[in-house]
Assembly symmetry: D2
Homo-oligomer: 140 residues x 4
């Protein structure tokens, strides 16, 4: 079972047609990823503050299948869809209250050494946390 | 007792110093206002879609007292601090997990007729909902 | 020669590491697309206000190759990379002041009838404007 | 004569009514402030990267007088409206193409020592640059 994250689609994410503006798909997917990491026990804020690794997104893509409208409660299913030595991929599936899949977002996070900007191996502790199956729904 | 709204301070709201970038105070305050309206039974999304009134912000101000940092769980207390015939003011107080007040945001919403852009009386139903005291904490 | 759009990378687009936060790639690419449309004589704002067609993004992807840093003057080359009957693809290439390619963004815009949400043929006038080769650099 | 900054009001700044969403006033005002600082020869990005001072906004306010609409070319007049020992205030006036004042934004920037978070004296070099009268219009 995938980790679930819920959000209310507020005015700040809309375009002039009253539907979610697509760059906001990535913003909400990132919020969902941060909640997912927290639920796995990975302290992302602390990790980045420490400055030993960075986890920038090297590739991001989204399919926006059905409009997400103002006031909708959006459900995001988050999963690690690929785990490598130096990178991992997070996949988010966004559904509306009727359960219809409205958008999918995929982001490849690469592990880098912030001092050099070069690729680095993912810390073993982080890989272990991301490899564990999630424990169910969490409301944020 | 004021309505409470909680949010996790994620990467999308940060500046380069790792603290909340001040325009994001207004974004989160607006999310809190929308949650507050929903809790009062005011369907803001429906109201705006209908197109009979608009509630734009004519004045907004914020005091940013203490840095809000990445990963913090921020608590927002929302209240109607003034209710008029044609406008109302929403006040949000943002505190960190230690209970310290970190920021205050105040927004004056004016009721307008979207066809003319002119000031209009607040619908009686909406005023009644905003005048009622809130029922306690709601997590969103 | 492709259309060029320049922007200064300000604080509002940064993450805590002081580099452009990837959802902002899509925001700036959209600004560049709007400038490109204006340069082609396509009045996007008027077109959408009229309400006969919508041009939502059905697919968006980005490769973020090198960090774009605070204070950089970013050059965006915009082109129509595919033109169909019901959709078109906009490709943006973002380079830094040294001319190094830092990111690529691709967005598929589909033409829809806003009343039904269904796919519609691109208006002939719009297709003609997008098919014309651009006339050079425009600073916005 | 005040410094002037121009921007095109694109889709990313709109609300569902097709007008600028008020938190975006602060975002654009900050972009204008960064362009203003650059024009004065103050390397804001370098200054913050160096880490000896920070210039967070302690108070921000906006009056939003007339709707700013999709596609408008907005003109921002930027000035230092107050200069102190430990803080300064930036005032931005936003006008539409017809020259009508649409919004005013005021931000108080305080100088802090990033290591302690405490108030610090503004560096003499920065104060001198902010005190000098601007040299005219700059398009960004």
């Amino acid at each position: 079972m995938a980790f679930e994250y819920l959000f209310y689609l507020g005015m700040s994410s809309l375009d002039a047609a009253g539907v979610l503006f697509y760059p906001e798909l990535f913003r909400h997917a990132h919020d969902a990823y941060e909640a997912f990491m927290a639920e796995r026990g990975a302290d992302l804020a602390g990790l980045l503050r420490e400055g030993r690794i960075g986890l920038p997104v090297a590739h991001a893509s989204a399919d926006y299948l059905r409009p997400l409208r103002h006031g909708e409660r959006v459900r995001v299913q988050v999963e690690v869809s690929r785990m490598g030595e130096h990178s991992f991929t997070i996949r988010c599936a966004l559904s509306n209250a009727q359960g219809a899949l409205c958008a999918q977002v995929e982001c490849v996070h690469v592990c880098v050494d912030p001092r050099t900007g070069r690729s680095a191996a993912l810390p073993e502790g982080l890989r272990a946390k991301l490899g564990v199956e999630p424990s169910g729904e969490t409301r944020v």
